[in-house]
Symmetry: C2
Subunit: 971 residues, 2 copies
């Protein structure tokens, strides 16, 4: 029974039996000591953790058993275990290509970005004044992509090449005013890209035709219903095709030309933007991001100016701050799905910021000359290899190539591939008769000699490798336009310079290394070093996603064990780790539900009930999955309106596909009605989809499956410690009950999913395997007790803060016992009238206090939602509460007329050093009040690097690549 | 001939042959591009690098051959090679003890201090206003040591336990007014400590007696000539002895009691300060610093208040800044050897700051309860093991123990040790009949079972490991006093909290990650990531210094190859890597010279000629080596006064031991007379000792041996890229000509050195092997050409800056062609009269410009010595020159009376944000002028965290541990 579980609340203090090892992890992950916990419990007015849980969590969902997981490992035990697991991975030389190639990650970037908490613990830069560093870096990424693809602008990354192509397909439809139904995909695109595109097309009933684009008779077949085409350049077989006339033809039919491409090749080839493509997509992985068995890497998306307002994902733009200084920000926020909801054309939210930053830094470190030299060398080696292979009597199928050869070996592909494996080399098996070889920057002369040896019948063949002097890239493809001419790509080529640039940017950005980031719904908890260390081990980092299974046995252990542990934690029967973000998880889950209904002949079930309080990705994902969204009301107290739910469920009885619910609710409350709600849905033939964003409040106390959900996505980047990386990477696995297991997503190259699987939702079979060890390690080190203690503390911390702040602010939405779950909302709407103050003013003023704002105006406009997580200490919670209380007093001084309604300490916030050191000071408050309103700030101040952003200016004057040099301050 | 060498100037640009790999290193290490180099050459007025070298370096010393080293490896080739080398090391479980034990390095500390350029690239905190972070951290170290040893104060680290004991011995002599000659060492001290102490005693003719301290008849034997005693607590055999009565006896004889001890044991044992010891020394390695085959680790030194002004090494103290705020600084700077010269009682300069910081953070992360729990667990395991071993019929020789057992096995020690090796376990071989076993925090129950198995005759022996309930630490030894009660040790026990604390401290400190640190004579060049990555690989990190040679074969390769390469670079015939700092290298070299003379019967040769311009460690080291220092004059132009040299050399003909010379000179000039000077010395029977601090100007152009030196120390922490770590670690190898090779230092445990070796100068046989891969990697990646190009650029950069600054400042000391070497001095003495401005004012004002000051007032009072190194880019050199020129204009405004002679922009510098945001502003200049005198500062400002330090206050009110909590600002 429950009280047994609860009595197991594991203290954060040291074990003291005589021999047990002491480097236990839960006391490092959790923020407070036993003594502090006691004080917080007292403040809330409960006698122990058990009482807190009893009051916060409804009885009918509480688990009666503790989690059936192993005891937590200590940090050093974990490292030992992981080393033995990773040693099962075999790092071969992979020439498989298909959008993934080996790369040399510059050590200085590896260590100071990918391995640096100052970068990886950042949140998405929604607070631009304390995020100028990564905004600049993402703008560099956009500029690099724009330049290399020859387009007008690019976004700040997408999840992978496959889904980026799918996004491009959808834009082709939205861009065509006329209704149309067909999208054409060239058969020489990467197979996983074609598969992702097909998956996405299904929700919309799009007719995807796969064929030979250059031969297809578009004029006669699709005069009026062609939205666009996708071609790959260079193609998956390595060939470089001329699509200029083709593009003109497609345009004349009203379609868009989407080009999947390769940034490295584009340093040498005429970019798609110059031969007529409208959109370019691809993977930036080979710009210094480890393979990681498939991810995470940053996909890119660039397009022509006229498509810019349709572009999916985040877009950094140049604007100005309150003093008129240049400042960066996320542009066109109105496009984001949390505003557009079911009208959104994309559900992308978390993307791949950290990896985009790495790729941008790679470009900056090498500069245009450097990357061109790398590309040229790769091409030289490929060219030389081609010549040698031809001399041995083989035919190279693709005439024009950059780095990839398709070698014809009548009936002999498998033999060659087997022979290659004996010398630790992986080729691509294209078909019975064809072997693919893709070279990359890590390839050395000796590697090429080894490849030649595989093809040679003479086992002692010697070769000199002479560069053939006949050109292989036809003149018409040779790039003539310059790229990466901006100063940022031409200044930091020594290690000292790039190190300082990385540090300079980092110094502008607030991260978890500075102070708590209490973003409701985002769960900004500790990303522990021991969890992070393994991801850059070469045995994890340097594995191609399509290697034979026996080379990835270490990964298999991690994947299997993580799936198992997540199933235990959620109560589900099957897990897929393929989705790369929460929103992708939603999409996957809904597609699984659709497939399930269809498998039972329930084709009509396409209505999705979604509470009005839901996160914007919910309706957006439902729309992507081809569902009709029907909103469900909420009560004034935030609870689901059960009457309305019942009404809608019955009304759409025959069409009801799913109900999406977040639990605890997006308002931060364990609602009583949740079990009932699930019953209603099931009674009406629907399936229950749970948005697992708030799982951090459930672990060990209840389970999504136990509550009644059929599917749920988890956010490993929230609940399970994958860092947010400034806006990605993420992993959004789905868990499902047994009846849905057969439908888990498949993959065209590596078998995944069930026997009635839906198509792949990510380009790589297991999504982003390289970061799975993080979540795996977290679960292993916390163990059953540790995980439950974290949940306890998440609840305790939120309720403690709510109690402290309730004397100063109105707390919205608590349950009947007055308890919130792991987060809570404070209402600042009254201040609009009393002091002309809005949530944004408080958010910006919090920066002056050294804090990142809580979630602003979601789920309720003009409120702030606070989620402390278990990792914050009581001292930090108090510091934040002190700041909020101090701000309340500042608001009071406006209410009292001691400060004007404009030009006051909140409206002018955040205050930069530049503002505060101006000779003239004409404010109703002092410089010291502005800068150091509380004593701790004298020693612990974090300074915003620009003043408040001018959002309107930036959206009107959209500039999404590095501003011209003249705009920069001298040096 | 030379021009051949010079034409080989290797461009920093990309190679462009078709296939060669592109991740070459020299262009990353060197700061400027070919185009920038061209501009700089033009500015200097030379047509190419060759002409520059011809003008700067005297013809008679220039090498005619290029360096006989391998071609440079690329970064990825280096990594591959190093991985294959390190795989030769075997990581066994080492229970050897002797002051070195395995430890669990908390990942968060490993990654965010040891692996963080923000920490490891810092310089010694001589500029306190931009070093408050590491000063606070070192103060934490001092406080921890003070508390645990029960002393009144502690310093900020020494090089190792052996030399710390030697320093303590010397203080015992200086503290005793009466002349005396004897120092007694208990035979149960670690053998390497005894050996280091003996080495050090020889220079002074100290009579060191080794014996059983508790049985020795001091009263009758040494009534009047006993300076002190050294005991070990717990002793090297693990026994805990009661020294309270003994201490009283020694005190009554006027001697000091020095106690070598173990911080971990002291959490449980009555600390030496409480039973009467006057000085405590030891190694803090087991507080979370990797073994690293012997180093680097931080030794500690603490003592009673009355000895404080005799304490060697750096001492952090609490003082206040210009606004009266609490601020930390290095105290008692007047004690530093650059002031006391030959009257110094120690030559310690570079110490072990980075490792001291790690140890302090370990203590902070665990807190007093945590470290006590660790100690108790180690003791429990040892206690249990002892019981099991006894039950098997063996005798434990030491009755009272903490973590170490000496097991008696009549004639069977070797058998047991062999058996242990078969299961990857190392014990200590004490003698034929005795095996030593020391446990540590990494030991698990299973490890203890494995140990038991080794001793068991029954190969299937099972044991339950029951903790015996009889106490093994006698009551009188049980510690009752509290320790580490300060808030800093009781606040940061969660990973989030310690991470923020580490970042908070780091954010106050300027490092190479921010801007150039142009310290003359310190060579603050790039510490490249690829060089740094290997040092935390477990196969380097986790090796005990006294393992059998076959477990350290990877290290052997590194050591041999590095010795070889350094010999090639310097022209010497033998190298010892044992000395842990430049000063230790000097000491070693001089001791070798003495031994050489003695071996030829030249006992009387003990005069050391040292130019007045020499670094303070030179005379201090000579004094340590028991030499008589005779100064040699310099000319007005900075050159050696050859007449005076000849005079002194002839005068002391019969007593002449050595001449110490720095080359290029400490004034930054390649002096013409150097060859002649060496000849004069040799003619008079002396040996030439070269201080290699300035070797960065020589590599590839000339060699110390070629110039005429017999011995030279190198600073791997200057010329060869080991980072300064905020004041250490360092490595100061010596190179010698063949006649001196037999005298290279030996070691009592592991064979090193020649057949007439002097005693060890460090506790570990190879000094600090864990950081040798850094220098090894640097040389391997640069190769012959790369190393020479670095020297070229070091000369170019210095001469370029000198030319730019010469229009604004007087440049002291250039050669007849107007050239400096790799550094130069600017004279600011005239401003004393014209504007009341001193070097220190310029140094502090430079902080406002975001720069660390050049070397101040050395070698010439009231001047600044600038050394840019090859790693700085032209852009950075220009930025620094712009700052210096702008400051010159500020001085002019004082000269012109536009600003007062006090309370002006220089005197008030550095300006903190707190100063600049005060409501009242009563200066003759604006806030903006103070903060942003140049435009780049608007975006690239580094802020000092306190105002100018009040040095006098701090020396008078010496406080050297964390100030009481009340003094802290409310957090
Ligand atoms: C409730 C909820 N659902 C879905 C999402 C989307 O997750 P992701 O950003 O991983 O796509 C979020 C993100 O914050 C969320 O809070
Ligand atoms: C010329 C010279 N000699 C000796 C030393 C002492 O070296 P270390 O600090 O490594 O002991 C220095 C240090 O800066 C120096 O500049
Ligand atoms: O004392 C010096 O390090 O120069």
């Amino acid at each position: 029974n429950f009280s047994k579980t609860s009595r197991k609340f594991s203290s954060t203090s040291l074990k003291n039996d005589a021999f047990s090892p002491l480097d236990t992890f839960p006391r490092r992950h959790n923020g407070s000591s036993d003594a502090e916990i006691k004080v917080m419990l007292e403040a809330i007015g409960v006698k122990d953790m058990e009482e807190l849980v009893l009051k916060a969590v409804p009885a009918n969902i509480r688990s009666t058993e503790s989690l059936a997981l192993e005891e937590g490992l200590t940090e050093s035990e974990l490292m030992e275990r992981l080393k033995s697991i990773v040693s099962k991975n075999k790092v071969y030389r992979s020439y498989i290509g298909m959008g993934y190639t080996n790369t040399i990650v510059p050590s200085v970037i590896l260590r100071n970005i990918l391995e640096s908490p100052g970068w990886y613990t950042q949140y998405t830069p929604y607070q631009p004044e304390i995020s100028q560093g990564r905004l600049e870096s993402l703008l560099n990424f956009q500029t690099m992509v724009t330049d290399l693809t020859g387009m007008d602008l690019a976004n700040a990354s997408l999840l992978d090449e496959g889904t980026a192509a799918a996004e491009a397909m959808l834009i082709s439809f939205s861009a065509r005013k006329q209704k149309c139904n067909t999208f054409f995909v060239d058969e020489k695109c990467h197979p996983q890209t074609i598969a992702c595109l097909k998956t996405r097309s299904e929700g919309f009933g799009i007719n995807v035709i796969v064929g030979d684009a250059l031969k297809y008779d578009f004029e006669n077949q699709h005069k009026n219903d062609l939205a666009g085409v996708l071609v790959q350049y260079p193609a998956t077989d390595g060939n470089i095709n001329d699509y200029s006339d083709f593009s003109a033809k497609i345009h004349s039919l009203g379609g868009q030309v989407v080009c999947a491409t390769d940034l490295m090749a584009l340093t040498l080839l005429t970019p798609p933007g110059e031969w007529g493509a409208d959109i370019a997509v691809g993977n930036s992985q080979r710009f210094g991001v480890p393979l990681g068995y498939g991810g995470p890497h940053a996909a890119f998306f660039s397009c022509k100016d006229r498509l810019k307002r349709r572009m999916p994902g985040r877009l950094v733009g140049v604007s100005r701050d309150a003093s008129g200084n240049k400042a960066y920000r996320l542009s066109l926020q109105t496009r984001e799905q949390h505003i557009r909801r079911e009208k959104a054309t994309s559900n992308i939210c978390t993307a791949q910021a950290l990896l985009a930053n790495m790729a941008a830094m790679y470009a900056i470190y090498h500069g245009p000359e450097g990357v061109t030299a790398i590309a040229r060398r790769i091409h030289n080696l490929t060219n030389t290899l081609a010549e040698e292979i031809k001399q041995m009597g083989y035919q190279i199928k693709n005439e024009a190539f950059f780095d990839t050869l398709n070698v014809h070996i009548e009936g002999g592909a498998d033999d060659i591939i087997r022979k290659a494996l004996t010398v630790n080399i992986n080729f691509r098996r294209v078909d019975n008769n064809t072997v693919g070889i893709t070279l990359d920057e890590t390839v050395k002369k000796e590697d090429v000699l080894d490849i030649i040896q595989v093809f040679s019948k003479d086992s002692n063949k010697k070769s000199n490798l002479v560069l053939p002097d006949k050109p292989t890239i036809p003149q018409k493809f040779i790039r003539t336009s310059p790229y990466m001419q901006h100063r940022v790509f031409n200044s930091y080529h020594s290690e000292t310079e790039i190190l300082r640039y990385i540090y300079h940017l980092q110094s502008k950005d607030l991260s978890l290394a500075h102070s708590m980031i209490p973003l409701g719904s985002c769960t900004m908890k500790l990303n522990a070093t021991t969890e992070m260390i393994p991801i850059t081990w070469p045995e994890f980092a340097n594995i191609h996603p399509f290697v034979p299974a026996d080379q990835a046995e270490g990964y298999e252990v991690i994947i299997k064990e993580l799936e198992h542990d997540l199933a235990v934690i959620t109560g589900f029967d099957g897990i897929s780790l393929q989705p790369n973000s929460g929103a992708q998880g939603e999409y996957t889950g809904l597609r699984i539900i659709r497939a399930y209904h269809k498998s039972r002949g329930d084709d009509k079930r396409n209505v999705c009930l979604i509470p009005v309080s839901a996160h914007g990705t919910n309706p957006a994902s439902a729309a992507m999955a081809g569902m009709e969204v029907v909103p469900v009301k909420c009560e004034n107290n935030g609870d689901l309106d059960m009457k309305d739910l019942e009404l809608k469920a019955t009304k759409y009885k025959d069409k009801l596909a799913a109900f999406m619910v977040t639990y605890p609710s997006t308002f931060g409350v364990f609602e009583n009605g949740v079990v009932k709600a699930c019953e209603i849905i099931h009674q009406n033939g629907g399936q229950v989809y749970m948005d697992g964003a708030n799982l951090n409040a459930q672990i060990g106390l209840c389970t999504p499956a136990g509550i009644g959900a059929d599917v749920c996505h988890l956010n490993l980047h929230k609940t399970f410690c994958i860092p947010h990386g400034g806006g990605g990477p993420g992993v959004g696995p789905v868990g499902v009950k047994s009846h849905l297991v057969p439908f888990l997503p498949g993959h065209p190259i590596v078998k995944t999913g069930g026997d009635k699987c839906i198509g792949p939702v990510s380009a790589a079979p297991f999504g982003s395997p390289d970061i799975l060890p993080i979540s795996w390690a977290y679960i292993k080190m916390m163990g059953s007790k540790g995980l439950t203690s974290a949940t306890h503390l998440a609840l305790l911390n939120a309720n403690y803060m709510a109690v402290r702040l309730s004397n100063h602010y109105k707390i919205l939405y608590v349950n009947q016992q007055g308890m919130c779950a792991h987060e809570f909302i404070i209402d600042v709407r009254p201040f609009q009238k009393t002091a002309n103050i809005e949530a944004i003013d408080i958010a910006k003023r919090l920066q002056d206090y050294g804090f990142h704002s809580p979630t602003m105006s979601w789920p309720v406009a003009n409120t702030l939602m606070i989620e402390p997580t278990e990792s914050e200490s009581k001292a930090e919670l108090d510091r934040f509460c002190d700041a909020m209380i101090s701000i309340r007093e500042e608001i009071r001084s406006i209410e009292k007329g001691q400060q004007p309604k404009e030009n006051n300490i909140l409206k002018n916030s955040p205050h930069t050093i530049e503002m505060l050191t101006k000779t003239t000071w004409d404010k109703a408050y002092s410089r010291e009040q502005a800068a150091f309103p509380l004593k701790y700030l004298k020693t612990h101040k974090f300074w915003p690097s620009v003043g408040r952003l001018d959002d309107a200016y930036g959206d009107i004057n959209l500039i999404c690549s590095c501003p011209p040099v003249e705009d920069y301050l001298e040096n």
